[in-house]
Amino acid sequence: MTLDSLDTVVLSRWQFALTAMFHMLWPVLTTGMSIYLVVIEGLWLKTKNLAYYHHARFWSKLYILNFGIGVASGLPMAFQFGLNWAPFSEAVGDFFGTVLGFEGTMAFMLEASFLGIMIFGWQRVPPVMHWISTICVAFGANLSTFWILTANSWLQTPAGGVFVEGKFRVQDYFQAIANPFMVKSFAHMFFATLETSLFVIGGISAWYLLQNRLPNFFTKSLKIVLVMALVIAPLQVFVGHLSAEQVYHYQPAKLAAMEALWDTVPAGTPADWSLIALPNEAAQANTFEVKIPGLLSYLLELKPKLETPILGLKEWAPGDRPHLVGLIYYSFRLMVAIGLYLAALAIATIFVWWRTGLEGDRLRHYKWLWWGWIFAGPLGYLAIEAGWIVRCVGRQPWIVYGQLRTAEAASHLPPQVVLFSLSGLVALYTIFFFAALFFGSRIIQKGPNVALPVPGLQNAEQLEIRIKLAEHQPDRRPLETQQ
């Protein structure tokens, strides 16, 4: 590709996709884990068991590492709409901008302000006030998810107003916020961040159990994770199903791409579910396909034969339907497979817990299970990224579904300039990604610092606890920076 053939729209899309996908990696853990921290800190307050306190301190080390990168990579997101998508910003600013403004004022500021107390304020505020701060952080983080999903759902199913001369005029804000996709999409993402975080915590705990390092300490976190995951993982499979159903009703072209379905399946016939396919966009057909007969009609309508037809991609002109069918098709399957695996893992582990009590020597007999958990750690992230690819690549060629085309929404920038910012961000993000992995694994390898002072105890008690500790590591840094 020469410099002249560079296309600003393509580059802007790459920049948005890559920065959004990179940004997405970090808030997942900070929103999901914040709920876990509220639970574990609450347990400490209730039972006064120090193990819970040290759990809160240990996991918040990973939390803050993620938060820093999340804030850093979120900043370009806040400005990118104006920088690269100026016509879009102008057209939908009345609603879309308002929602982003809400996200900042209601959610993000709350999270960022109380984070300081949550991380550094252990010795400065009473334990109950600290817990309230953690709750504020968790509430703020999840409220962020709500507003971002509201904004994105509105792009998928715009409601609450009309487009007049290419500009969106809001008639009813509440209708626009409660657009058709909003409830289920928010629920799906809320559970996604929580589930991913639970399996990260579970995976790390399993790693310690496998090494027989602090087994009593880490069975605690694993058990809490298990109780929560047993509810959430199957529920997420169900919410995911509801999300696919709403795509079927509102965005049939996306559903056709998710299923690599080129020809319409008429009503009154069974629809097969494709397991493996090689979509060929030039031929408008799949060169190779393995199908499970009748499954898709069961999935969508719970009936052996369809009541309403499923439209195939050929119903739309090539310019009006999503491309990259293979990407959408496999991303969807990957997400579904991961969702099912995580639910199965949670159920299998509960079974083992019931049989063994997850205690003592018997833990060591279940190496395969701990490996299953370690393997599950990164899977949630993969599912989330895959899901967003389905959601946003599948929405193309529209930026606002059915109303505004992506190609018409990009700023008229010289492509070299976009290439410059794109390559700069990619270079930085690559470094940060590996640095975060490196430092994250270092935090995990170091393990919990059980020598940290406990708030609310007298000095004599503190000393007694410190002497008792086997793994005492002197920490010479200022008190404020100790984590």
Binding site: V71, G97, A112, G116, V170
Partner: protein, 337 residues
């Protein structure tokens, strides 16, 4: 046609939003100003202990401070979509410089905490802070000078329009200002030898900021016709005559308090200096939002959008201020080493 119930508010609403955005921007410049200033100061530190204290003094506040910028971005998008689109379009490169700087600054906090070899992240922290301040300086300078737009208010200039000797001057002065407020914040947060160091850096920065501000004040109306036309009209003229006089007085008070080795007053005088410059800038820009030609009324979102957002945001501003203040109260006092 049905009479629009919001019609009487058509002038009032954009003014309220102009004020709110000004408030967010001012809080950002003030609060992240000392973060960035301290970051730039850390470049001069060869002592790891000093740097530790510098960064500890920011640990609990920098992300909340940076959030004011995110609020500014989001609210500008909602209240004045045209301005959000056009200004960012015009400021593409300075915005990228700023964003890259802020990213480097943010990750350095966390990576440095866990790193054995802290040198890389120390440097990233300092350079990131510097780049962020530089990008912001260019942005302020460009908005101050004016952005070339077509009849519809869309950006019609070139990618390098922002780079002029005047915006360079504004950028350098803003950096000095950040170093000044960073130094006075450290005077308030530290003791002993460290505090003495920052009395010195504050004095130097006070002089350089002052010189920069004088140059900007003189050169702006001299070289920019639209500014000249605006500044020398009767009611505004008195305000613009008063601002430099007050500024000189504040600089005098600041230097005296530094000489007397007062602990809190230098920060207070610097705060007032920032406020004064900011009010001056506000008067120069108002009622435009994309100077020199697009007014807040032309760039406004529809009145219903502004009312809807205002209901929530007006209610949230005092709450946000309250819990931010609480955060500062919890961590009040000197940074302990």
């Amino acid at each position: 046609m049905e009479p629009n119930p919001l019609a009487p508010l058509e002038h009032f609403l954009p003014q309220v939003w102009f004020f709110i955005l000004g408030l967010f921007l001012f809080l950002y410049i003030l609060l992240d100003g000392f973060d960035l200033g301290i970051g730039i100061l850390s470049l001069t530190s060869s002592d790891e202990r000093r740097r530790n204290i510098l960064m500890t003094s920011l640990g609990n506040v920098w992300d909340a401070n940076e959030t004011w910028l995110v609020l500014m971005g989001g609210s500008l998008f909602g209240a004045f979509p045209l301005a959000y689109a056009t200004i960012l379009n015009a400021l593409y490169l300075p915005a990228v410089i700023m964003v890259v700087g802020l990213i480097l600054r943010a990750v350095s906090f966390e990576f440095r905490e866990n790193a054995n070899n802290k040198r890389v992240w120390n440097l990233a922290f300092g350079i990131g802070s510097f780049l962020a301040a530089l990008g912001q300086g260019f942005a302020v300078g460009t908005v101050f000078e004016g952005i070339k737009v077509d009849a519809a208010g869309h950006f019609a200039g070139g990618m390098w329009d922002w780079l002029t000797w005047h915006s360079v001057l504004v950028a350098l002065t803003l950096i000095q200002g950040y170093v000044l407020i960073g130094s006075t914040y450290l005077i308030y947060k530290t003791t002993g030898e460290l505090q003495q160091t920052h009395y010195r850096t504050a004095t130097i920065a006070a002089w350089t900021t002052f010189i920069g501000a004088v140059l900007i004040t003189i050169s702006a109306p001299l070289f920019h016709e639209h500014l000249r036309a605006q500044l020398f009209q009767p009611p505004l003229f008195y305000i613009f005559a008063a601002i430099p006089l007050l500024g000189v007085l504040l600089v005098f008070l600041l230097l005296r308090s530094l000489q007397k080795r007062q602990e809190v007053m230098p920060l207070v005088w610097t705060f007032l200096l920032f406020l004064l410059s900011f009010i001056g800038l506000g008067f120069v820009i108002f009622p435009n939002i994309i100077p020199p030609s697009v007014t807040i009324y032309e760039a406004s979102a529809s009145p219903s959008a502004q009312v809807f957002m205002l209901i929530f945001v007006a209610f949230l501003i005092p709450i946000m201020l309250a819990y931010n203040l609480y955060n500062y109260l919890v961590f009040r006092g000197k940074v302990v080493a």
